[in-house]
């Protein structure tokens, strides 16, 4: 981890009508770090992430990702990031190989690059024998791991993961986090939302969102000390007790 700033948000806000989904959040993410974004359902995590990825225009505030401004340079941001949305979004009616080829292709990889990286990806996931299987036929855990690998196929500087382990079993979650660590070790900045508190412990730093606000931001260790508790779960309950939004 370096001190180069990878993501910077300052008073970033999104309103839907009069409803403030993300309320003046301010933070910095350093290059190479695993940054956790915690919050209950409806806290505003996805909204914040979509603004950073150039998918949603902020209502006010500033933000830059990989040095590019979210208002003016969204398309340059897109060249430098990978994104795994909360909703599974590979093509279920294409095979694993076809998905790899398509997403590699639209990120401008060469045919040779697609072939090499694709083979590597399949080997890493142990999916060589399934290369010609339709993605829709895979179990959820495999789908999620595949979606992550495809999101980092083009070697982005930053990867945004929106609840990547939602609904998968603990063993697969563990394997998924291994993939995250491998990517982080290659220098990829990881921005990950979750509502699994144990996963927060795997992050370098975590932020906690409550009702659109960012109420805490520090390393898991510091947060626990600050609140005088033993787990991030306790930290989260302390913070979320006053939350208005419930799902």
């Amino acid at each position: 981890m370096t001190n180069t700033i990878s993501i910077r948000a300052n008073g970033l806000t999104k309103k839907f009508g009069t409803f403030v989904a993300t309320d003046h959040i301010t933070f910095e993410v350093y290059a190479g770090e695993i940054f956790g974004f915690l919050g209950a359902n409806g806290a505003g995590k996805t909204t914040a992430m979509r603004m950073l990825c150039g998918l949603l225009e902020p209502t006010s505030g500033e933000a830059s990702v990989a040095g590019y401004d979210v208002y003016r340079e969204a398309e340059s941001i897109k060249k430098n990031i990978g994104y795994m949305s909360q909703k599974f979004s590979l093509y279920e009616d294409l095979t694993i190989q076809e998905n790899i080829r398509f997403f590699g292709g639209i990120y401008g990889l060469s045919y040779e690059g697609i072939r090499q990286k694709g083979n590597q990806l399949l080997a890493d996931l142990g999916l060589q024998s399934k290369a010609k299987a339709l993605v829709g036929d895979l179990p959820l855990g495999w789908k999620q791991k595949l979606a992550f690998s495809v999101a980092v196929l083009h070697d982005p500087k930053i990867v945004f993961l929106d609840e990547p382990t939602g609904g998968v079993d603990p063993v697969t979650r563990r394997q998924f986090w291994d993939l995250i660590y491998q990517a982080a070790a290659r220098g990829v900045t990881i921005f990950v939302t979750t509502h699994y508190m144990d996963e927060a412990e795997y992050c370098d730093r975590v932020s906690v969102m409550v009702d659109g606000r960012m109420d805490a931001l520090d390393s898991p260790q510091n947060l626990k000390e600050q609140f005088g508790v033993n787990s991030i779960e306790e930290v989260f309950y302390r913070l979320a007790r006053g939350a208005q939004r419930a799902d």
Binding site: L55, S89, Y91, F102, I106, Y107
Partner: protein, 373 residues
């Protein structure tokens, strides 16, 4: 450019893998093309006609007999005041009223030209319109007969001509299917272009894959080209099967005019109508919404295109809508080229107008297509 190839590859794979979509794209239109003209065929031998004969001459009674003898018409009235004819239309006892003016025979012999007036019953407009087109053919024959007689007698008078005001349909074979098939084919191509393309794009919104596209550096016009080209190709293929196989071998329709011209127009038309589909997709978020919106417009396009009812018999406000409807022009071109042999000079304006539609729909859609919300 390479991006577009990747997009096209993906799109074609998905389309050809979709077991529900393929029959919709290829099977249904062709079945419709075979069934609709049959269903839309009317009992052509029972067209009720009333003749208002102000002339009561040898010519006028010969014409009346000729009409009666064809077997297509049923002479339900023969009177000498127009008011009575009008009443028969009002009572729905006549689909058509043919008015033969006083001194019809006289004028025809002296001046060589005379006009007949034809009133069409709008209640059963289609049947009446078909009848009108038959009738104009019969009158044409009659006029030719008179000329023949004149020549036989060695008369040097110029050949005579009977003009029927109100009917301008051209269907020399007196076959209703000849008139309907090109129109229905035009409409089916519209369904594929305007409907299927909208649904396809919105489907990506609905299942969420569009997010993955929008978060990539893909250029929006690349994405759009990647989406529209497959449907353009499919439109061309379906049209070809409809024109070169179904029309040709089931209905024995061989275009009088240039097939190349027809394809040139189709190519342009598809660009316009795909732009419309794209536009619908930019305003909707689910397939159900897209289907309702597209259905609404496609119905208007269908009913206001002159496919079933001739535009000439529409009220003014409806004519305005008909001429703001791209389908109208395509159907005119189809019928023009296939039945009349219209050429490039005849259709220049149609090309120009369709180019404007294409630019209009596509720029609006491109403007409205957002990679971010």
């Amino acid at each position: 450019m390479k991006t577009i190839l990747f997009l096209l590859e993906k799109e074609f794979k998905q389309i050809f893998r979709n077991k529900a979509l393929l029959p919709m794209l290829f099977g249904m239109p062709l079945i419709q093309l075979i069934v609709l003209p049959l269903a839309a065929d009317y009992e052509i031998k029972n067209i009720n006609i009333a003749v208002v004969d102000h002339d009561r001459s040898a010519f006028s009674s010969r014409l009346t007999h000729k009409i009666d003898a064809t077997g297509y018409f049923r002479l339900t009235g023969f009177m000498d005041s127009y008011r009575e004819g009008d009443r028969m239309i009002a009572l729905d006892e006549a689909d058509l009223v043919l008015e033969i003016p006083a001194k019809f025979e006289n004028t025809l012999q002296r001046e060589g030209v005379e006009r007949l007036f034809l009133a069409v019953n709008a209640i059963n407009g289609t049947k009446a319109n078909v009848g009108a087109s038959y009738l104009s053919r019969i009158i044409g024959d009659f006029s030719e007969e008179l000329n023949q007689e004149k020549r036989n007698k060695g008369a040097s008078a110029p050949s005579s001509q009977i003009i029927v005001t109100s009917s301008n349909w051209f269907n020399p074979h007196m076959n209703y299917k000849f008139f309907m098939v090109p129109g229905i084919l035009a409409f089916l191509v519209t369904m594929i272009g305007g409907y299927m393309s909208a649904l396809n794009i919105v489907k990506e919104k609905e299942i969420g894959t569009i997010e993955q596209i929008n978060v990539s550096p893909i250029r929006k016009h690349h994405f759009i080209i990647g989406k529209l080209v497959p449907f353009w190709v499919i439109g061309m293929v379906v049209f070809s099967i409809g024109q070169l196989v179904v029309s040709r071998y089931i209905y024995h329709i061989i275009p009088v005019g240039s097939l190349l011209l027809l394809y040139a127009y189709l190519a342009l038309y598809l660009v316009a109508i795909l732009g419309f589909g794209l536009l619908v997709s930019t305003y909707t978020d689910t397939q159900q919404q897209a289907m309702s919106v597209a259905f609404f417009f496609v119905m208007i396009f269908l009913l206001m295109s002159g496919l079933f009812t001739s535009i000439d018999s529409m009220p003014e406000w409806a004519k305005v809508i008909a001429y703001l409807n791209p389908v109208t022009y395509f159907i005119e071109v189809m019928r023009g080229v296939v039945l009349k042999g219209s050429n490039w000079v005849d259709l220049q304006n149609h090309f120009l107008i369709m180019a404007l539609f294409a630019v209009f729909f596509n720029s609006w859609a491109l403007f409205n297509y957002r990679k971010s919300s």
